[in-house]
Assembly symmetry: C2
Homo-oligomer: 418 residues x 2
Amino acid sequence: MTAFGADLMARLDAFAGFTEEPGLLTRLFLTTQHRAAADWLMELMGKAGMNARLDPAGTVVGRYEGTVPGAPALLIGSHIDTVRNAGRYDGNLGVLAAVAAVAELDRRGERLPFAIEVLGFGDEEGVRFPVTLTGSRAVAGRFDRAALETRDRDGVRMADALRAFGGDPEAIAAAARKPGEALAFLEVHIEQGPVLEAEGLPVGIVTAINGATRFAVRLRGMAGHAGTVPMALRRDALAAAAEMTLAAERVAAASDAGAPEAGLVATVGRIEAKPGAVNVIPGEVAFTLDVRAPEDAVRRDACAAILAGFKGIAARRGVELAVETTHDAAAAPCSPGIRRQIEAAVVRAGVRPLSLPSGAGHDAMAFAGVLPMGMLFVRCKGGISHNPAESITAEDADLSVRILLDIIRHFEHETPTA
Amino acid sequence: MTAFGADLMARLDAFAGFTEEPGLLTRLFLTTQHRAAADWLMELMGKAGMNARLDPAGTVVGRYEGTVPGAPALLIGSHIDTVRNAGRYDGNLGVLAAVAAVAELDRRGERLPFAIEVLGFGDEEGVRFPVTLTGSRAVAGRFDRAALETRDRDGVRMADALRAFGGDPEAIAAAARKPGEALAFLEVHIEQGPVLEAEGLPVGIVTAINGATRFAVRLRGMAGHAGTVPMALRRDALAAAAEMTLAAERVAAASDAGAPEAGLVATVGRIEAKPGAVNVIPGEVAFTLDVRAPEDAVRRDACAAILAGFKGIAARRGVELAVETTHDAAAAPCSPGIRRQIEAAVVRAGVRPLSLPSGAGHDAMAFAGVLPMGMLFVRCKGGISHNPAESITAEDADLSVRILLDIIRHFEHETPTA
């Protein structure tokens, strides 16, 4: 058995050298560092037997032909842009693991009845411009040209930055795969959460990329002197918010405990109480609520249950409640057929197959409903991501390449499903 | 029956004209506006048959002799300094109501077997210098000379400001009443809380000025992605803080409901969650807890119960808990004898006698343990104070003067008690 781990880890370390800030990893979309990374990646793809090119949206595309040139392609990819002060595995692992798998096929002279295209997308993080999934949406035929007019914080238009990078804003529509050109989309990605580590598993099969709904909640009670207002006469906005926080937690925990695959989570991440003095009962509180689940119905039911709870709490406490929905995105379910194929490869690798939702967004979302789509998650230390402390083991990296190779070798085309 | 209300309200309105900011009421300790207010008050006292003077600590003292000149005095007073953008009744009502009562005695030629001294203290709010109760502590013989060295935000020493005002820092010890010179201390004050209004009562008898303990609480859980960390794997510092907030509320509400006079209150007034992003589970939270009760044992027991609850919550949630006591002040109980005398006058006025604790501090605190001490609370609209919306009715103002007169006329000296 070839050991892919050591090579892959060394390449990930080398790839992290393409950064705006020495010592840290920061590689934003369409920067000179992004272009240097793309060139390095295209060279690597060439050595792995692929024809490499940059597509009009700035995605690095490496094509490994099948037994018959021009056959439909299995797309495998992730992103090579990063957040500021990033870890080196988020996105990059998926791209370099795919290159490693193809390199192994090439080394052995293996050709499959389909082509493989490895995709290194340039904009998954959405850090530089106020849009995201630029590259994957272009390939999926879902690019919104309005994105080209957005500007970064220095006032640079995406269209201009893309042209300087070597892309072609006018030709982005041509980046889309035509019907019959692509078979499916696969993505290997670190979990960015703690589940696999807690389960003692190196990899897991993604069920869906969670839908998410966010609310801005405002409460207006009555401020008062912390010493002079008896408990029974209070309309304490912070006590109401505390009760709501626990109500949201309870709804999510109950759902998640009852059905581990439910994957419902609810988070109060931001809170502000006014006037905010040690000796004043808070009269106003604003807080955020983020609710996610792999199934839209589960998320919608949970939101309804939580908001009904909020209304009851507000009424009982004599506090005014105002709720604004600030974000609402549907879930992107992975295709059942692709999930089965990934699961079979995991089992063949001798690993207990665990299915879990993805709480974070990924390039694979862009393909939901367009191509059969699926993801393999790789364990990361402490669930930490978007942080220099992001860490995976060489053993897990090795296993991810072997499983990906096994999926490719056993790949069966299926009719696209939503 | 003489109607004191209209006159008293007109005087309170006029007195509010002594302010640093036209249109608002701001009268800080030892300012020129404070001095002008003191001069106006001394003139008013003179017209009411009193000998008025400024004592060395800047307190306006008006003495109304009894049947025998030089007799021990019943002290009645409150403060004439205000917070910034204050209401016009906090402190000032108690001083001008006392002047009105003495004026009525003088008008009728009534002399009592004791003298009356009306005191207009200059520093109850503690806004200008980082100390408080300067005037009342001086009269009570409890002045701490270290206060003279404190400075306001412009760097002015209190000793210098006091000298410029017309006081005498060197002679403050002489402001203290010697044993036998004073019989008791009475204070009329707006409630600054909503209890009397809720009970439909114009006045109430204060049981004690609450003791208070304040805590700074810090929680350290684990920050994480709001989408990727399942509920069961979270160590959410904000959810822990929410549970603690409700635990503190529950302890106070249970005590207060079980024994209305218990008067226990607990307040989380300030909270900060970090990192404070909509999509990140809070890893750190800091919040304040303020616990008050008229009896020290009740407050101590409540603090112990609340902190034990906090420990249990922190342990169960895997969150680190750090608690710092930032303030701890004993309760100042009103003298049982004075409470009985005030209650008897309230009953004679045809009002249901309600006893309640004071959640806020008052000049009367300075006399606890030195002289028999008691307070009459007057209803204020919505419990609002420290705000231009502070409001009382002329009827309640009238009643407070009549009750004070009645207390004076029936006053019985008792042996000082703690």
